[in-house]
């Protein structure tokens, strides 16, 4: 389906989006540039307030209409700039070319419509199918997402299903029209670990079978390590580091990422004290202005970090970092990154 050559499936260029609060506009994400390649898993990882969900919603123009808006940049899907598209045109893209899975299936599914009807609706919105055809397809989809008794579940309501089953239904709906890209925002956060493992395995197998690209948004670095080909690390509304999953975990560059990786409690270690990052993620209304947004919490911050805005710098092999330690000219060489391997 993708065009020949090296065109990206999804390309975001210098995107800014934010919210109007009390008459003022506050950008929640800024300077966002990224690419998603066909058939690859790209993970966006960040803490709450990093802007990762705003980014996911902006891509499909799903920000709240009353105060959210995209103010700058381009979002290219197969080369076409979605920022210029009308609502009607976007409705044809959503669901058909790009599927969406949200964190909390109970709020994303309609409580008074049966599972089967909801999936059929998703199908028939985009494809001219008879009732019988869409019913057969729906049951097949339910089977594909690992639901053991699809005929029965077809007639059930969301509240009759467990959390894991509901998430499977969401996934069935999202892949119904065979999208090239599936965007999943914290799809396993509300689930138990054992169910999380099942859902991740399902994502992986569907993604591989269908050659679909997956943009997975999560706060969980374990999930990232398990799933990602490419990783995008966000902090305070900006991308601070991006690269291949192995380099992200074994040669982290940004002091934020280096510290973040130390935070995960590991079962094979014992702790006298837990590594922590002082301070808090800045809120939308109190974003550090001017310099690096992580500088106030950064153990390696230099004077210029508070004055000078770091740009994304390529450290080789498409491993990009937004940090003055790596931008050349003046940095003392800084950290060697690999020190948190075991």
């Amino acid at each position: 389906m993708t065009a020949a050559g090296n065109r990206h499936l999804l390309e975001v260029i210098d995107l800014q989006a934010g919210f109007a609060i009390g008459g003022r506009y506050y950008p929640a994400i800024d300077h966002i540039s990224l690419q998603v390649e066909p058939g690859k898993v790209t993970c966006i990882v960040g803490e709450s307030g990093s802007g990762k969900s705003v980014l996911a919603l902006s891509i499909m123009d799903l920000l709240p209409k009353d105060n959210g808006r995209r103010t700058q940049g381009e979002i290219r899907l197969n080369g076409r700039n979605l920022m210029e598209w009308s609502e009607a045109e976007m409705n044809r893209v959503r669901g058909r070319e790009v599927g969406f899975v949200f964190q909390e299936p109970l709020t994303a599914l309609n409580p008074i419509v049966t599972v089967g009807s909801q999936i059929q609706e998703a199908l028939r919105n985009h494809k001219p199918l008879s009732r019988r055809e869409s019913r057969a397809l729906t049951i097949d989809l339910l089977r594909q997402v690992g639901i053991l008794r699809p005929e029965a579940v077809f007639h059930e309501y969301p509240h009759q299903l467990s959390g894991g089953m509901r998430q499977r239904v969401m996934i069935a709906m999202a892949i119904a029209c065979e999208p090239q890209l599936l965007i999943a925002d914290e799809p396993t956060t509300a689930l138990d670990v054992s169910v999380q493992a099942q859902i991740l395995a399902l994502f992986k197998s569907l993604q591989q079978q269908r050659g679909m690209a997956l943009l997975l948004i999560t706060h969980n670095l374990g999930v990232v390590a398990e799933m990602a080909d490419e990783v995008i690390v966000m902090y305070a509304g900006e991308i601070v580091e991006q690269g291949d999953v192995d380099r992200i975990f074994h040669e982290p560059k940004h002091p934020y990422l280096q510290q973040l990786l130390q935070l995960i409690p590991r079962l094979d270690r014992e702790y006298e004290r837990f590594a922590s990052i002082g301070g808090n993620v800045p809120s939308l209304l109190h974003m550090p202005q001017g310099g690096c947004r992580f500088a106030p919490r950064c153990p390696e911050a230099m004077e210029r970090c508070f004055a000078e805005k770091p740009q994304m710098t390529d450290t080789g092999a498409n491993h990009l970092v937004r940090c003055l330690l790596y931008s050349g000219g003046g940095a003392s060489g800084g950290t060697d990154g690999g020190d948190d391997d075991d």
């Binding site: 991740l200 706060h219 670095l221």
Partner: protein
């Protein structure tokens, strides 16, 4: 802190049943949220309780704190049986045990100033002048790493991690001996989780507190606890020293639970054993082992007899017929 010293808290065979109500308020049977649950907490230690949703871990905490009444069983605290304590006796016990809750947004009264929230437990027991209460609140807030001027503010003026510190300050107000912490860091960001865990550990070292630390997250429970109990369908199915639990998990469920945790290293991406089924929802009790349907090693006995917790190694007990 030797084995011989009597434990601070000892609960024996606690059971909590709820009626299962069907259509037209018809009673369909009972659900055992907590079933034959026994455990001991020593002075100065942290006992972790881990389990998935519906495992009964929160019910265990609430029954121990006497927030809900046990159906049967006993709770003994420093050799006093407080299972059915009422009146003054119950009030006395409540000074010794405090709770920290998961969500500081629902456990801190939004209409009260932080100073009043933090000093309220003491004001319930002793008459304090306004100034005494303020001094006390300021001291407590300093202990949890907040500044004294937080007293005059309202909860919404604080971040999630700071609110959880306020909850901890309130729990410390009466100098309790045991704190039941139910998912205390689950609502917090990773970087803030560690700050709160460090605080809890520092407070323990200062004052010899004990914690019953309840969480769904085995990595966090493992990091903070000395001994860990694993719960499944209302029962304690494994109980061990934390090293032993991680190195040699015995119960097939514990093994699955550990295997299901994503490892934060892409080079260790393994073909993990993915459990086939989901944890059970509330349902009337069935015979035998509740885990047998999801267990790869189930044998006929598992359908007949409920396995009870038996010693399998030093500091390690398991409830599984594989080790009979």
């Amino acid at each position: 802190m030797t084995e011989r010293e009597p434990p601070l808290l000892e609960v024996r065979s606690l059971t909590k049943e709820y009626p299962l109500i069907g259509a037209f308020r018809k009673r369909m049977g009972t659900i055992r949220a907590l079933d034959d649950f026994s455990l001991a907490v020593r002075q100065g230690e942290t006992v972790g309780l881990v389990g998935e949703s519906g495992s009964g871990k929160s019910t265990a905490g609430r029954v121990i704190a006497r927030l809900v009444e046990a159906t049967s069983g006993s709770i003994v605290f420093q050799n006093r049986d407080i299972t059915n304590a009422t009146g003054a006796k119950l009030r006395g016990w409540r000074r010794d045990l405090q709770m920290i809750f998961q969500d500081p947004d629902t456990s801190l009264n939004p209409k009260l100033r932080v100073g009043d929230i933090v000093s309220e437990p003491v004001r319930n027991y002793t008459r304090l002048s306004g100034r005494q209460a303020q001094t006390l609140a300021a001291e407590l807030l300093l202990r949890v790493g907040l500044s004294a001027d937080a007293c005059a503010k309202y909860p919404h003026e604080f971040s999630g991690g700071q609110k959880q510190r306020i909850g901890i300050a309130r729990a410390l107000a009466l100098n309790p001996k045991l704190i039941v912490a139910d998912e205390p860091v689950s609502a917090l960001d990773m970087s803030v989780q560690a700050q709160v865990l460090n605080l809890m550990r520092d407070l323990q070292q200062e004052s010899g507190l004990s914690y019953l630390f309840i969480s769904h997250d085995l990595s966090i429970v493992h990091a903070i606890s000395d001994r860990i109990g694993v719960m499944y369908a209302g029962r304690l199915i494994e109980w061990a020293d934390k090293r032993s639990l991680y190195r040699t998990p015995l119960h097939p469920y514990t093994q699955q639970l550990i295997a299901a945790i994503p490892v934060p290293d892409p080079r260790l991406r393994a073909n993990r054993i993915v459990p086939q089924d989901e944890p059970p929802g509330p349902a009337p009790r069935m015979s035998g082992c509740a885990f047998r349907a999801r267990c790869g090693f189930a044998k006929p006995a598992c359908a007949e007899i409920v396995p009870s917790l038996k010693p399998a190694a030093a500091d390690h007990q398991v409830a599984c017929h594989l080790y009979d």
